[in-house]
Symmetry: C3
């Protein structure tokens, strides 16, 4: 099946199955990502208590871990939930918000990577490439001068970490260490709304709950979210009304529209 | 006075008195419920510090406790605030988000019920019916096969707990153990916006601050919030624009419109 | 340069330089203020972990401290971040939400004032005037019967605290203890949206990052935010759509529009 068909099928399944997506995420985006997941067709739950997360994740179709507005106690909850999800073979996606910017964020992201089995990591280029081991043979961020360089680095890192990596930007790059898919959907206004990256991560989480191939789940989810931005831009030209129109578009886009609207390379 | 008149009077009082409504609520809905309370005419405050909640609630016309995104330390603050409110005879409403789903949520809800004097509990059927004692003679969730069954269970539980129970859904059911009122306002899109249940709870809190009869305060608040959904649906057909239109409708609905638009049975 | 020109220049710089604005703020407004900062042109980051805030603020052009939804551990993070910002001569603005209402808020605000070097404090009249020392010679809140009285009290307090004070309301008053500027922009609907005061504070933070004169940064930021409310009111007449239209206006207002639209006295 090609990605166009797969995307349509994933969105259809999402709306039929309404999987529970357990989020341990940051305070800034909790409301917006919950609304995005609901609009897409999933059932979001936010829960972070150390004495609750293992029980909660056991009901979930996917676990979303996001390290924005992080504190140490939240790292513990993310690891507990992640270990339980790993045991249950429930897919996990990590959003390493701010990894590379502060020691807390970088070390928390690495701890989660070490202690859980992640299906996907999604971030911008500097966040994702900050996850390399010091002794990594992949190139440093400073050495990246082209999209081709970023793709090489990401592919090598995905192989090392044995996970799918998604580096999002004007064009999204998705790789499992072998295959590389580029997704060209999206709109520049998405950069003027807080938490669109975090929301992309949550939407990927929802797709992971209905598609057992993390690479294709990720690429099709990013096409869907990017398409929502494109649709929103037809009725909104400034960030406030745009962010609301994105929620509307996540709800109104049909599997058929997604099949026709997804733009993939590779 | 009938409920139509009472609803109009409550909304009028709310806008005249602008009561302070103290919320200890979850991170997902804090912004939306604060905006809903403001739009309705109340003065919301969110405060959860253990060394502040007793002082804060002493200024309030009502206390709203909501156990979404709960951790143990928040339970302590809810109990402290609830005890103080009980002493002051300030009405309290509990939203047992996720009770029945995890042990933490169920035990927290029961602890709050045990240690405070609640005026109202609002949730969906499984949340509310999870609050029964193990030895309760009311029927188990599994045994509920009809709306009539749910009504019987809720009425029995309300009698046991000596509080008003509101089970919201396509039709809302409100009971104090003796009387049962059904409220038929609302719109299906409310289920596609996160925190509409929590917001209904907060609006009931505001009505409790101006109406000393918890049963009527609850029924009229639910009619008002449901009517806001109906009004919103006239200008919005997808969840993003709908959730914004609901805030607008809470602001624009007049007491006269509420008097004419409320749909009550029983 | 007059304030009209200065405002235009500040907005232009903000959009060119996109300064990082580090916020340690309350849960209710995190999403909205992040979106407002992004719409204005700044790069917001929210981070409150005690073991991260010093590192994070070292990258920032300004620090915004806001004591809504406060707990003791957050005060510690605010002081740590504030001390580091003081060392680095990074401008700091404090929003003393609820100071004067509870002991926790009042003492936290005073502790932050004592331990850091603030560029600006913004609040409503009772919040700002609650910051006076018991032995202060400035008049008590109860003694304020006129706008002129408030101005006198604020000017005296600004001198004592050696900071700019902004008291916002229908007309905003800004003083450094010597000069007094009044800003007349704004719209009544801003009072029906939660966190507009907090958002004004965050926008001032962004202007502090591009204007080394805190008095002028504050006055021009308040004119800009108030003008956004005026622009929003042309397309929205209820709080939900209005709060979205304010975000749109923050994005679309040009430096030239701000130059022409700012209303200053004194």
């Amino acid at each position: 099946m090609d990605l166009q068909e797969r995307a349509a099928q994933n969105l259809k399944k999402l709306r039929e199955q309404k999987p529970l997506v357990h989020n341990i995420t940051n305070f800034v985006v909790m409301n917006y990502t919950a609304n995005a997941l609901l609009a897409a067709g999933a059932s979001p739950v936010m829960a972070h208590a150390p004495n609750e997360v293992e029980e909660m994740v056991s009901f979930a179709g996917a676990l979303v871990l996001n390290i924005g507005t992080l504190t140490d106690d939240w790292v513990g909850s993310m690891v507990s939930a992640g270990r339980k999800a790993t045991d249950l073979q429930t897919p996990i996606i990590l959003d390493p918000v701010g990894s590379g910017a502060t020691r807390l964020r970088t070390s928390a992201a690495k701890e989660i990577i070490d202690k859980t089995r992640l299906s996907v990591i999604r971030g911008n280029a500097s966040e994702v490439l900050s996850l390399r081991d010091e002794s990594s043979t992949t190139k440093g961020v400073d050495s990246i001068h082209s999209v081709a360089d970023a793709a090489d680095s990401a592919r090598a890192l995905a192989g090392e970490l044995q996970t799918v990596l998604a580096i999002t930007g004007p064009t999204d790059l998705v790789t499992d260490g072998t295959r590389v898919i580029r997704v060209r959907n999206g709109h520049p206004l998405m950069g003027s709304v807080t938490g669109t990256g975090c929301t992309a991560t949550a939407i990927i989480g929802a797709f992971l709950a209905v598609d057992s191939d993390p690479l294709q789940a990720t690429a099709t989810a990013l096409a869907y979210f990017g398409l929502a931005g494109e649709v929103a831009s037809k009725s909104a030209s400034a960030p406030g009304s745009f962010m609301i129109a994105v929620l509307d578009a996540l709800y109104t886009i049909t599997p058929e529209q997604l099949k026709n609207g997804g733009q993939y390379d590779g």
